[in-house]
């Protein structure tokens, strides 16, 4: 099934029911270190990714570390 969500600030229609599926759908290996996810302003811990269900309109942030000062 497909959902319309706000993903990293942009409205996107995704084919994913859970965080894990979303990451895979967006080409991010869920096993990869350094990734973190927040849904509606709350962090979704890595261990909950497989079962954490995304709802329509969810505000999702997927982040990783970058060069910084």
């Amino acid at each position: 099934m497909s959902l319309t969500v706000r993903l990293n600030g942009k409205s996107e229609t995704i084919e994913a029911a859970t965080v894990t599926e979303l990451l895979m759908a967006t080409g991010v290996d869920p096993a990869r270190r350094g990734v973190a996810v927040a849904v509606n302003g709350e962090v979704v811990p890595r261990k909950s990714w497989p079962e954490f269900r995304l709802n329509p309109g969810a505000d999702i942030e997927i982040v990783r570390p970058l060069q910084g000062g």
Binding site: V43, V63, P65, Q67, G68, G69
Partner: protein, 256 residues
């Protein structure tokens, strides 16, 4: 051991902390970090670009480097706190360099939002290292809230102006109950040495190395400068005198 910078109970290998941004390329960054001797390296937390992503910093920076994520660019306590929590989950560290910016031109902190974020993060178990004003009152409040260090600015971020208000930094160091790390403003080696002579426990810098003509050479220079300033502080410098004082003996001059 007593010569190590101890942060939140952890003795660090070096009193120099460096950033990972703005280097000509990744190899120069790695060589510069190695030359700096720094154990702690700051990183930013940013949205993943949705078309997959390049090699991760975590992998390229060895395991002997302690990553210190920052909340750079956040202008509200809310964004800073969420960024800190994402960083904790992404990097499995509770250390956070707290930045809450009040103004895009000066990049000075927003004192109210910073204090709010610091309180919330400390309560949530974070080791908070806040980038803050060179203001003894705000620094004391941050320490009282439970921050692990205070990191007053020497000058605007990236300006390379050095320490614009040494008296304020000295006052902060003289009274602080937590280590004072000079953050922002260092432009060259003597600035870093001077910070240590004022009583700072460490120096955090990025642009001064990354944007210099030869980052690796500058990284080694900064390492030496922090050692030099720390040593000079420990050694106890001579007082400044208004007039001259001969070093050679005054007696036994010929022709006298």
């Amino acid at each position: 051991m007593s010569d190590r910078l101890v942060t939140a109970g952890l003795p660090l290998r070096s009193r120099l902390l460096v950033g990972s941004a703005g280097y000509p390329n990744q190899q120069v960054m790695l060589d510069s970090i190695a030359a700096s001797g720094a154990e702690v390296v700051t990183v930013a937390i940013r949205r993943i670009s949705l078309q997959g992503y390049s090699e991760s910093l975590i992998d390229v920076l060895g395991s002997d480097i302690r990553l210190l994520p920052n909340t750079a660019g956040c202008s509200t306590a809310r964004d800073a706190v969420l960024t800190a929590k994402l960083a904790r989950d992404a990097l499995e560290t509770s250390w956070i360099k707290l930045e809450v910016i009040g103004d895009r031109e000066s990049l000075y902190p927003d004192v109210e939002e910073m204090l709010k974020a610091a309180a919330e993060l400390v309560t949530d178990g974070f080791i908070v290292l806040p980038y803050c004003n060179d203001d003894p009152v705000t620094c004391r409040k941050l320490a009282d809230l439970g921050c692990a260090t205070v990191m007053p600015l020497g000058a605007p971020i990236g300006s390379g102006q050095g320490i614009r208000n040494p008296g304020a930094i000295e006052t902060i160091c003289a009274r602080s109950s937590v280590p004072v790390i000079l953050d922002a403003g260092v432009g060259t080696a003597s600035d870093a040495a001077f910070a240590m002579e004022l009583g700072c426990a460490g120096v955090l810098l990025n642009t001064a190395i990354a944007k210099s003509r030869s980052p690796v050479v500058m990284a080694a220079a900064m390492r030496a400068a922090v050692d030099a300033g720390y040593g000079a502080r420990k050694a106890g410098r001579i007082p400044k005198r208004d007039y001259a004082e001969p070093s050679s003996p005054q007696m036994g001059l010929i022709g006298s």
